[in-house]
C-alpha cells in the first residue's frame, strides 16, 4: 500500500512539473501542450473510436508478427544449439542480423512488398526472430550437463529429454528471450508504422506520424503515452507472472 502511494505521488509530481513548465511559457504551447490538452485529445480519440481502432490494428500486427517470430525462432534456436552445422550457419547469421536495428529492414521491406501489410509484418518478424533464436540457443547451451546425465541414467531420451529436461531447464533464458523478442517486435512495428503509410489500417504509429505532419503535439504526446502504457501492461499482465513463478521455483532473487 505504501509502495503504491509513493508511486502515485511520483507520477503526480511528474504531472505537476509538466503543468508548471507549460504555465511558465518557456516553450511555445505548440511544442509543449499542457497535460490537460493531451488528456482531452485522449478523451476525444477514445470517444470517437480512433484510439481503439488504431490500438486493435497495431496489436493485431504485433501479435501476428511476434508469434511468427516465436514459432520460427524457438525451434531454430534449439537446432542451432543442438547441431554444429546449424550453429555455424543460422547461429552466425542470427548473431549478425540481431545487431541490425529493426528500422533498417524498412527500406528493404518497402521495395519488396510495397505499401502493404506484408511489409509491416516482415519488419516485425525480422525484428523479433533473431533475438528469440539467440535466447533459445543460449538457454539450451547453459543447461548444466549434470541434468542431462541424471536424466539419461533414468532412461530419458530424445523427445522426452528435450521436452522434460532441456526445455524446462532452459526456461528462464527462453522467457527472458521471449520478453526481449516482445520489446523488439514492439519497436520494429512502431518504426514500420511510422515509415509505411498504408491504407489497410491506421495503427498507433501512423497516428503518431500524422500528429507530426499536422504539428498536433497533443496527439503526438498522447499516442506516445498510449504506446508506453501498452508496453507496461504487456509486461505486468503477461511476463511478470511467468517471471514470478520462475523466481519462486528456481529460488532466484525476487526483485
Amino acid at each position: 500500500m505504501k509502495r503504491f502511494f509513493l508511486a502515485t505521488v511520483f507520477f503526480a509530481v511528474l504531472l505537476l512539473l509538466w503543468d508548471a513548465a507549460f504555465r511558465a511559457r518557456i516553450w511555445s504551447p505548440v511544442l509543449l501542450p499542457s497535460p490537460w490538452q493531451v488528456a482531452s485529445y485522449l478523451k476525444n480519440a477514445a470517444v470517437d473510436g480512433t484510439l481503439f481502432k488504431a490500438t486493435v490494428i497495431t496489436m493485431r500486427r504485433l501479435l501476428i508478427g511476434y508469434f511468427i517470430g516465436l514459432f520460427v525462432g524457438l525451434p531454430l534456436g534449439l537446432l542451432t544449439a543442438r547441431w554444429k552445422l546449424f550453429g555455424d550457419t543460422i547461429g552466425t547469421m542470427a548473431l549478425g542480423l540481431q545487431t541490425l536495428p529493426s528500422v533498417c529492414w524498412v527500406p528493404l521491406a518497402l521495395l519488396w512488398f510495397g505499401q502493404t501489410e506484408a511489409a509491416m509484418l516482415f519488419v516485425v518478424v525480422m525484428g523479433t526472430l533473431w533475438s528469440v533464436v539467440i535466447a533459445a540457443e543460449t538457454g539450451v547451451r547453459n543447461v548444466p550437463p549434470i541434468y542431462r546425465r541424471a536424466a539419461l541414467t533414468m532412461g530419458s531420451k530424445r523427445l522426452h529429454m528435450w521436452f522434460k529436461v532441456i526445455l524446462p531447464a532452459a526456461l528462464p533464458f527462453i522467457v527472458s528471450g521471449m520478453k526481449q523478442g516482445w520489446a523488439f517486435a514492439w519497436r520494429s512495428l512502431m518504426a514500420a508504422e511510422i515509415f509505411v503509410t498504408i491504407l489497410t489500417g491506421f495503427g498507433l504509429g501512423q497516428l503518431l506520424h500524422y500528429g507530426r505532419e499536422l504539428s498536433a503535439m497533443d496527439q503526438v504526446i498522447a499516442i506516445m503515452l498510449v504506446i508506453v502504457v501498452i508496453g507496461l501492461l504487456a509486461d505486468k499482465i503477461f511476463f511478470s507472472p511467468i517471471e514470478k513463478f520462475l523466481h519462486r521455483r528456481w529460488g532466484t532473487s525476487q526483485a
Binding site: 541434468y147 546425465r149 541414467t153 533414468m154 532412461g155 530419458s156 521455483r249 528456481w250 529460488g251
Partner: protein, 272 residues
C-alpha cells in the same frame, strides 16, 4: 489405507535381485592440456550381488570415471563392464547414479523429482507412480516436504531427495559419487545411519566413491584403494564389522587407520 488394485504397487515395491558387476580390464584415457592422462589402466573388479563396495582415492585418480563407465555414461577405451553377465553399453535405469553436485531438477518440486524416473517406467498407472514416490519419500524421511521447491531444502535434504529419486525406479545397482562430500559432519553422520538402514531394507548392489576413508570403512563391505596416474586398484580391504556401524566406534577407527596408512604409502594424503 490405499484403495487400489492389489498387485501393481506392491509388485513395484518388491525387492528386485541386485546385480552382480564384473569390470574387465577397463582402460580409459583423456586428452588434457598437459597431454594424455591415463585415468584407468586395465582395471578389473568384481562386485557381488547386494555388495556395498567403496572406492577410495585422492581426487583425480579415476574413481569417478570408473563410476561413470559402470553407469554407461562414458565408454571405456578398452575392456568392458558386465551387469549380470550383460555388457553395459548405455545408461539404463537398472543402474542409477547419485551425483555429488545437486542434480535435482529445479523446475520440479520434490515430488516431481522423485516421480521423474517413475514416469519413464512403463506399465504403471498414475496412482501407482504416486504411491511409489510417496513410499520412497517416507523412506528417506521427507514426506512432509513433497511440495517443497528444491532451493528451499538444505544440503542434506537435497541428497535425501536425490537418494529417493535414485531408488524410486527400483534399480538393481546404485552408484554413488561422493554424495555426502559437500555436507556438514553432523548431517553426514545421520546419513551414514540412514543409508545403512535403507541398504538393508532395499537390498541394492552399491558402488560408492569417496575420498573419506572413515566414511568408506563405515559403509563398505569392501574398501578398494585407487592410485592415480595411471588409475589402478592398489589394495583391497574387507571390513568385517557388524552392522549398523557407528562412524565413531573404536573398531572402525582401527580399520580407517590401516586404510589411511596404506593410502599414505601410495603417496596420497587422504582427507577425513
Amino acid at each position: 489405507m490405499f484403495r487400489h488394485k492389489p498387485g501393481s504397487v506392491t509388485e513395484e515395491l518388491q525387492l528386485v535381485p541386485p546385480s552382480k558387476l564384473a569390470i574387465e580390464e577397463v582402460s580409459k584415457s583423456f586428452q588434457s592440456a598437459s597431454g594424455t592422462v591415463l585415468a584407468l589402466d586395465r582395471v578389473s573388479l568384481n562386485v557381488a550381488e547386494g555388495e556395498f563396495v567403496c572406492l577410495v582415492g585422492a581426487s583425480g585418480c579415476g574413481k569417478t570415471t570408473m563410476l561413470n563407465i559402470i553407469a554407461g555414461l562414458e565408454k571405456p577405451d578398452s575392456g568392458r563392464v558386465l551387469a549380470n553377465g550383460k555388457p553395459v553399453t548405455s545408461p539404463g535405469r537398472e543402474r542409477l547414479v547419485m551425483f555429488q553436485e545437486p542434480a535435482l531438477f529445479p523446475w520440479l518440486n520434490v515430488f516431481g523429482n522423485v516421480l521423474f524416473g517413475l514416469n519413464l517406467k512403463p506399465n504403471l498407472s498414475k496412482k501407482d507412480r504416486h504411491d511409489v514416490a510417496k513410499y520412497y519419500l517416507e523412506l528417506v524421511g521427507l514426506s512432509r516436504f513433497e511440495r517443497a521447491n528444491i532451493h528451499e531444502l538444505s544440503g542434506g535434504m537435497k541428497q535425501r531427495v536425490s537418494l529417493a529419486r535414485a531408488l524410486a525406479p527400483n534399480p538393481r545397482v546404485l552408484l554413488m559419487d561422493e554424495p555426502f562430500a559437500a555436507l556438514d559432519a553432523l548431517t553426514r553422520e545421520q546419513l551414514y545411519g540412514d543409508i545403512q538402514e535403507i541398504w538393508k531394507a532395499r537390498r541394492k548392489t552399491i558402488v560408492f566413491v569417496t575420498h573419506n576413508v572413515r566414511e568408506a570403512a563405515c559403509l563398505g563391505d569392501r574398501v578398494l584403494l585407487f592410485s592415480p596416474h595411471p588409475g589402478r586398484i592398489q589394495e583391497e580391504f574387507a571390513v568385517e564389522l557388524p552392522r549398523p556401524r557407528d562412524i565413531n566406534s573404536v573398531d572402525l577407527a582401527a580399520y580407517a587407520t590401516r586404510i589411511t596408512k596404506a593410502l599414505k604409502s601410495l603417496g596420497q594424503i587422504a582427507a577425513g
